[in-house]
């Protein structure tokens, strides 16, 4: 009964539909093989697809929350990826079973009178249910959606019903998104949700915005500065009292596993949040892409696949 970081649910779901929704983008509909209700989710949530290749990949849920029997995800074929998206594109067929973890939400929609949504390419996926939510809430919103070419941009037809709230700016017609211009009218009451490739997120993060306006999600690991320390530190596993020294060449996850304590993990790059562990004492050196500033400052959890310690000792609830 001791509370721990929520273990991700894992289920086996069936691919019930598969549709090419843009050049290089396939949308999958997933359902429980027995037709059971799927776990609830909120806008911004993602699920893990656990691929038979051993890879686990995160994809935002982009379907209808009011349909409790299916999930929808859209997968872009990443030519320079590690093979996950290629497997989905080339191998995963209607009728196949696939392991699904989650859903989890690290990109939550917060209440506000106004929203600006900025999507780059496949980054449109988490924004679709957000748009549905803010529309139901009666908030003011705009979407600016960029992509390489119009043909590479998914869900344009679904978005067309929203009229001039949606601005579609393919790069081959309009060049890069005019960020400075887009943000000109953004005030402290607006929330900006931005999802897309790292250069877009970096450009947005570099703008001079009022505090707390911007919320982003990156599925690729964030560029990190040098670790806070390059010397070993001790991790204390509180439940057993076992102590293990973490040297600079191993992760906390590896060190903890080496003394026989298993922590679930998935991405191994600080993006998925699976390995969240409670910190009981010590000062974490957060190296993940999951926590926001306030959560980092709280110092009460650690993603052990990448994060480390600032001090000599870190006590974990393991």
């Amino acid at each position: 009964m001791t509370p721990t970081a929520a273990a991700p649910r894992q289920a086996t779901l069936r691919v019930t539909a598969r549709e090419t929704v843009a050049d290089g983008v396939v949308a999958l509909t997933l359902a429980d093989p027995a037709g059971a209700r799927l776990p609830d989710w909120t806008p911004g949530s993602h699920v893990d697809l656990v691929l038979p290749t051993g890879l686990t990949r995160q994809y935002s849920l982009c379907g209808d929350r009011w349909d409790a029997s299916t999930y929808r995800v859209a997968v872009l074929r990443e030519p320079i990826g590690r093979g996950g998206s290629a497997w989905v594109h080339d191998e995963l067929a209607v009728g196949d079973l696939v392991g699904v973890g989650g859903p989890r939400n690290q990109f939550r929609l917060v209440p506000a009178p106004r929203y600006l949504f900025i999507a780059g390419g496949i980054g449109i996926t988490p924004l679709l249910p957000m748009i549905d939510a803010v529309r139901r809430l009666g908030a003011d919103w705009r979407l600016v959606y960029g992509g390489r070419t119009r043909d590479s941009m998914a869900f344009l037809d679904e978005l067309a019903v929203h009229g001039d709230r949606v601005t579609v700016l393919p790069q081959d017609e309009h060049g890069h998104l005019p960020l400075a211009e887009l943000f000109a009218g953004v005030d402290a009451d607006t929330r900006v949700y931005c999802c897309g490739p790292a250069p877009l997120l970096d450009a947005v993060a570099g703008l001079d915005l009022p505090p707390r306006v911007l919320r982003t999600e990156r599925f690729a690991a964030q560029e990190q500065g040098a670790p806070a320390r390059d010397t070993p530190f001790t991790v204390v596993l509180d439940r057993t009292g076992v102590e293990v020294v973490v040297t600079p060449d191993v992760s906390v996850l590896e060190a903890v596993r080496s003394v026989g304590v298993d922590v679930l993990s998935s991405c191994r790059e600080g993006t998925c949040g699976t390995c969240e562990t409670t910190v009981l004492a010590g000062e974490p050196d957060h190296r993940d892409s999951v926590l926001d500033e306030a959560e980092r400052a709280a110092g009460d959890c650690l993603f052990v696949c990448v994060s480390r310690s600032r001090g000599d000792r870190l006590v974990l609830d393991l």
């Binding site: 609830d40 929609l109 917060v110 506000a112 707390r212 959890c301």
Partner: protein
């Protein structure tokens, strides 16, 4: 579809709801209650399914008999209990984090010490005491720790219990004697509670301050913050008091239970959840259908109020073996005493920690727990509670 001429808010039913719950379960998966022009679901599988299906069974029309679509609620609706997605999402997320197991860890030692002090004071140096366990334990402990944890000022806390009691009565019919009796002092109680939700009246540390800090981070709006604090004060006191009352009663009334718990104190958490199953402090809430919704072979028409009986589900023999027994060796997991789905009690970890702290302190000193008289029910349209629970505690 079966219909039952049954008034769930009749004082006799409130005093002993078990026969009514059995009648509802036996009548069928979906039962019409013509007296209030509503429907009832009382079997475990159907209750659980209805509670999970927030898409069909909405909460924003009110979880009491009053339909907020056609009638004006007595107070602004709760942003949690009386809200549906997407409006429900942010308040729920914020409160779930503040009241989650990780956040409560810092309270554990203090509450354990508080419980030991309360029990020591009660027992004094005596080898046995006879007490009314409702005021001296079940109410005393939550009132000792919870308002401090929220960050409430010291004066005026006597408003908390009557406010909560009325809020839960008000889920019943508005012209019911319990509601009418509560109306008299409600302005006073609600006024005090409303004032305590404001930032300037809350301590700089605590659940209340945490809620305001979430608003500062932009996870809530500043307009939502006081209403989220109000949810804590409405739903966080009476329910826990009655849950602790239920577990104390169960442990005193069930032969061998106290001895077993003394031998295996690791079962304190099971004991509390089993009591919540057995006695279900929150007996039932309404939902409102957004469309025609099938329940087994029957259909609830769109726009209907449906009374979903947590308590009846928790004693459904179709799901539980020997459901009327309070059994510490049972795994009560899956009981719907805290609800189920997106509205499942967000403060359940707080309630569990309070109960665990108090029971652990009692177990350390009390060798025997016995009823010395007939317990007296406290009637409420939603809650199952004790007014008086005469116990002998032997050291």
């Amino acid at each position: 579809m079966p219909a039952l001429d049954l008034d769930p808010f009749d004082p006799e039913v409130l005093r002993d709801p078990l026969p009514a719950h059995a009648a509802l379960r036996d009548a069928g998966p979906l039962v019409r209650l013509p007296r209030y022009d509503t429907y009832a679901i009382a079997r475990y599988a159907d209750v659980r399914a209805a509670l999970s299906d927030w898409q069909s069974f909405e909460s924003s029309a009110g979880v009491g008999l009053t339909n907020f679509r056609t009638e004006t609620p007595w107070r602004p609706p709760s942003l949690l209990l009386e809200a549906d997605p997407p409006a429900h999402d942010a308040p729920r997320t914020v409160l779930a984090r503040i009241l989650g197991p990780r956040a409560l860890r810092r309270l554990r030692e203090d509450w354990a010490a508080d419980a030991v002090a309360l029990v020591d004071d009660l027992l004094g140096g005596r080898s046995e005491v006879e007490v009314d366990a409702v005021p001296t334990l079940a109410a005393a402990f939550p009132l000792r720790v919870f308002p401090d944890a929220v960050g409430l000022r010291a004066d005026g806390r006597e408003h908390l219990l009557p406010y909560g009691d009325h809020a839960f009565n008000a889920f019943g019919p508005t012209d019911n004697p319990l509601v009418l009796a509560g109306n008299e002092h409600m302005a006073e109680h609600a006024g005090w509670v409303g004032q305590q939700c404001l930032r300037e009246n809350l301590a700089p540390a605590g659940f209340g301050a945490d809620i305001w800090a979430a608003a500062d981070r932009g996870d809530l709006t500043h307009a939502q913050a006081p209403l989220v604090v109000r949810s804590l004060l409405t739903a966080g006191v009476d329910t826990t008091v009655h849950g602790i009352g239920a577990v104390l009663h169960a442990l005193a009334a069930t032969p061998g239970a106290w001895d077993l718990l003394r031998a295996r104190p690791e079962l304190v958490r099971v004991a509390f959840d089993e009591a919540v199953r057995w006695e279900s402090p929150v007996q039932a809430f309404f939902r409102t259908t957004v469309r025609d919704v099938p329940v087994a072979d029957a259909v609830v028409p769109a726009g209907a109020k449906v009374l979903v009986f947590f308590a009846a589900a928790n004693r459904d023999p179709r799901h539980w073996a020997d459901p009327d027994a309070f059994d510490l060796t049972r795994d009560p997991s899956g009981h719907v005493g805290f609800g189920m789905g997106i509205h499942q009690c967000v403060g359940q970890h707080v309630a569990r920690l309070e109960a665990e702290s108090l029971l652990t302190a009692l177990l350390a000193r009390v060798t025997r727990l016995e009823l010395t008289g007939e317990p007296v029910r406290h009637l409420n349209n939603t809650l199952r509670a004790w007014d008086s629970l005469p116990l002998r505690l032997t050291v």
